[in-house]
């Protein structure tokens, strides 16, 4: 890895703050899963306490118990020394415990302001003070340096922007204890920095913070202490100054990973796809080439137009101008069906909305693109259906009890593997991965990256979109930087520094969203 984070950011000296919240033998069982085995842990007033662990280790479960979202199976929680029942979200909030939950959970049909005040509306004589709330919300947002309007529908914002609103929301509520469950999963560096500023400010105001993340450098940048969960058990707690990356990873997955970014370089073959001055809603004049055996990375801020570009390439949205060459030949791609026939595969950015049929079995999800192939005449071949699903499950090491388990019962990382896995059997030539490692733990990330290598070695080409710079930086043979719908810079492998790329992506201040629609 690059210089360890604690060398760049010396951890603050830990004050011996008093204990604000203490867990004693906290335990949670779901039917069939022992998600949290008795955990003892004390949080100190005013600290930033990171919690790390593999997908499915029980991090979110712990948070759900602390915020009254779910009842605990056994154990005790002491808030400022007093036992707290924490039976409802309301009770937790009354104590001053708030959370920004893992998946963005706000109301798309309400305005930003309405979401920020949801459950705590200002009203006078029973009449909502709507204007006042919008004004107040806007003040808070501006104050935090987020460049977002308070009066628009939440659903009109990108996922990342929604995530920022979720964070801003917590500050409205007289918070003493604030939990962030993977808040940066959908954020780019710029938004992440805004968020970190907010978190540090809250800490300065004496708020205790739990911070959950799969990104180690964020943990080292922010946290005072870090606790590691593995299989529902607390493996240990460390002062940030007294630990390092390798130790934490070892604690998390009980083995060491020499190399997360497994990058093999192949000699690029013939071009698979070439776009010439492609334009559409959200992007303009994009020309690029993807060759067999190479990863083309697309980096940019949220809303830079990368997703729009690839979904248009994939035929999901209309293109307004430009040309696409597939293996040198001019092609018209008017629907996703055309794209798939040519040999494209898209693992979309939102697995919940676009990637998975959550209430259907893993096997069906994996086989969805290839049912035509595994049907003989009219009927599906049961044997082939099973064999194909099992092959992907084994090959990708998807952690599922059976191929018949519902996709929704898998942890986030394993769901992501399905989104990717369903295209492997299909045998595509061009794979488009849009944010493929969102919410995925280190071990699984390494596996996914290894898989990229395998695809390349078989002569496929990959377009990799990531808002996480280290990922594209370490994996892409060619790195294109997007800014506001335009391709502004192109680099080879490691031919530019992080700082240069960031500067190119940022360059000018993004326009305010308000006028976009």
């Amino acid at each position: 890895m690059t210089p360890t984070a604690q060398e760049l950011h010396p951890a603050p000296v830990l004050e011996p703050g008093r204990t604000i919240l203490e867990l004693r033998g906290l335990e949670k069982r779901y039917p069939g899963t022992h998600a949290l085995k008795p955990v003892n842990l004390a949080f100190k007033s005013g600290e930033i306490h990171a919690i790390v662990g593999e997908n499915g280790a029980g991090k979110s479960t712990l948070i759900k118990l602390l915020t009254g979202v779910m009842p605990r199976t056994s154990g005790e929680v002491l808030w400022e020394g007093q036992p707290a029942a924490l039976a409802t979200p309301h009770e937790a909030m009354a104590l001053g415990i708030n959370a920004v939950h893992q998946e963005v959970v706000l109301c798309r049909h309400l305005t930003v302001a309405a979401n920020m005040f949801l459950g705590e509306e200002n009203s006078r004589f029973g009449i909502l003070q709507q204007r006042a709330m919008v004004r107040e919300a806007q003040t808070i947002i501006d104050d935090l340096g987020f460049d977002l309007p308070a009066h628009v529908m939440l659903g009109d914002l990108t996922i990342g922007q929604q995530q920022l609103i979720a964070a801003a929301r917590a500050t409205v509520r007289g918070t003493k204890f604030l939990i962030f469950d993977e808040p940066t999963a959908y954020l780019t560096r710029k938004e992440a920095d805004q968020l970190f500023t907010l978190i540090r400010r809250l800490k300065g105001e004496g708020v205790t913070i739990i911070y959950i993340s799969h990104r180690m450098e964020e943990v080292f940048e922010l946290a005072d202490r870090v606790s590691v969960l593995r299989d529902g058990t607390l493996v240990g707690t460390r002062n940030i100054a007294e630990t390092n990356d390798a130790e934490l990873v070892k604690m998390m997955i009980n083995r060491s990973i020499e190399q997360v970014y497994h990058k093999e370089h192949f000699t690029p073959g013939a071009p698979i796809v070439e776009t010439r001055n492609l334009s559409g809603k959200g992007f303009e004049n994009i020309s690029m080439t993807v060759r067999a055996g190479e990863i083309v990375g697309l980096y940019g801020l949220i809303g830079a137009g990368r997703s729009e570009f690839v979904t248009s390439l994939y035929g999901r949205h209309k293109k307004s101008a430009g040309q696409i060459l597939w293996e040198g030949k001019d092609v018209q791609i008017n629907s996703e069906h055309d794209a798939i026939k040519l040999g494209m595969a898209l693992a979309p950015e939102s697995r919940r909305d676009q990637g998975l049929c959550l209430n259907l079995p893993v096997g069906l999800n994996l086989n969805l693109p290839i049912y035509k192939r595994i049907s003989s005449n009219l009927l599906i071949s049961n044997a082939k259906e099973k064999a194909e699903a099992d092959r992907q499950i084994a090959g990708l090491r998807i952690k599922t009890p059976t191929r018949g388990a519902l996709a929704s019962s898998l942890s986030g990382g394993n769901q992501q593997k399905i989104v990717i896995g369903k295209w492997l059997a299909h045998g595509a030539k061009l794979f488009i991965f849009d944010e493929p490692t969102v919410g995925v733990d280190v071990g699984t990330k390494a596996e996914i990256y290894r898989l990229f290598g395998e695809l390349l070695s078989k002569g496929a080409g990959i377009i990799l979109i990531s808002s996480y710079l280290p990922e594209v930086y370490e994996l892409a043979d060619t790195l294109h930087v997007f800014r506001r719908g335009k391709l502004v810079a192109t680099h080879g492998f490691h031919t530019a520094s992080h700082e240069d790329i960031l500067t190119q992506a940022l360059a000018e201040k993004q326009e305010k969203l308000g006028g976009q629609t």
Partner: protein, 321 residues
């Protein structure tokens, strides 16, 4: 995914008004066309009839809208109306003072709504099923109570109410205002209205924000039951009988009015004025067809076709906003 739902915010409100206007424009257009087509349409007498005819569905549609905004549906409302006519008729004939009889009937509606809330929240039943079951059972109970007869209400002061007018406007239409204004304030300007939208949009998020989702659902169905029972009282007054088989199919008319008025069956989108306009558009179609002496069979065909056309263009306009 539309935004008309929340009128509170500036840019939305403009749009909301526009949307309301467009349905209103349609209604006005219908009225103008009918006034030209038939001399009797624009007569004061007919306008009064029209207002009376649309009133009951309009009130039901408002209650229904609350439920639909939460993402649910209430199929029982027609049966509740029929049942309420029986209850109020029996009470009045038994000598209970009219005000008390009405109050008890409204409470019956509330109780039915609470039962729906219970089935959905506590028993985990789909709204479609629990309200369908109530629809079936309630007609049975009403028939059992009346033994299949109509109950003739023997209080003239009760039945006179629905025929009379106040400053030239039929009492029944006053009742729409009586329900509509508080409903508007409730839905668009109170926190409970806000919670109806938030529950319909994302129940889990609402719960995590401390919104009492269960209570919100109870509230929606209770209001729908209450509106239906109120309509039952009005209906009993209007035709002077209690009969449990009345108002058959009105639930579908109420739902159609609500959807024509811009409510989304996926929840989280709706208003109070939309369903009112929707109900009066449907009433106008029927009234106009009667005045023009359109064959009853053609009336059905036209109604179906108009529903498609109105909802289609409404959808178009919204998407193309």
């Amino acid at each position: 995914m539309s935004i008309e739902a929340i009128p509170a915010e500036k840019p939305k409100r403009n749009y909301n008004v526009l949307f309301g206007l467009t349905l209103l424009a349609l209604l006005v257009l219908l009225w103008i066309v009918l006034s030209l087509a038939t001399p009797s349409f624009a007569s004061g007498n007919n306008i009064a009839n029209l207002l009376r005819q649309g009133s009951m569905i309009a009130i039901m549609a408002v209650g229904q809208t609350f439920v639909i905004i939460t993402g649910g549906i209430d199929l029982s409302v027609g049966a509740v109306v029929g049942f309420a006519t029986v209850v109020v008729a029996m009470l009045i004939n038994a000598g209970v003072p009219i005000a008390v009889a009405i109050l008890i009937t409204l409470l019956v509606g509330v109780a039915i709504g609470l039962f729906h809330g219970f089935g959905i929240v506590k028993m985990g039943l789909p709204p479609f099923i629990i309200t369908l079951a109530t629809l079936t059972s309630l007609r049975g109970i009403g028939l059992l109570m009346t033994n299949g007869n109509s109950i003739n209400i023997n209080s003239d002061s009760f039945t006179a109410f629905s025929r009379n007018s106040f400053i030239g406007i039929p009492n029944l239409f006053w009742m729409v205002i009586l329900v509509g204004v508080p409903a508007y304030v409730f839905l668009h300007h109170s926190r409970w209205g806000r919670y109806l939208f938030s529950v319909g949009s994302n129940a889990e998020a609402s719960r995590l924000s401390g919104v009492n989702v269960q209570r919100t659902i109870y509230m929606a169905y209770t209001l729908s039951g209450l509106c239906a029972a109120f309509v039952g009282v009005l209906l009993a007054a209007r035709i002077g009988i209690g009969n449990p088989t009345q108002a058959e199919g009105w639930e579908l008319q109420a739902i159609a009015s609500s959807v024509i008025g811009g409510t989304s069956l996926f929840g989280a989108v709706g208003s109070v004025h939309g369903p009112l306009l929707g109900a009066f558009i449907l009433a106008t179609i029927n009234n106009g067809a009667n005045l023009l002496n359109v064959n009853s069979f053609w009336q059905r065909i036209i109604t179906g076709a108009l529903i498609i056309i109105i909802v289609y263009f409404d959808g178009l306009r919204r998407r193309g906003k």
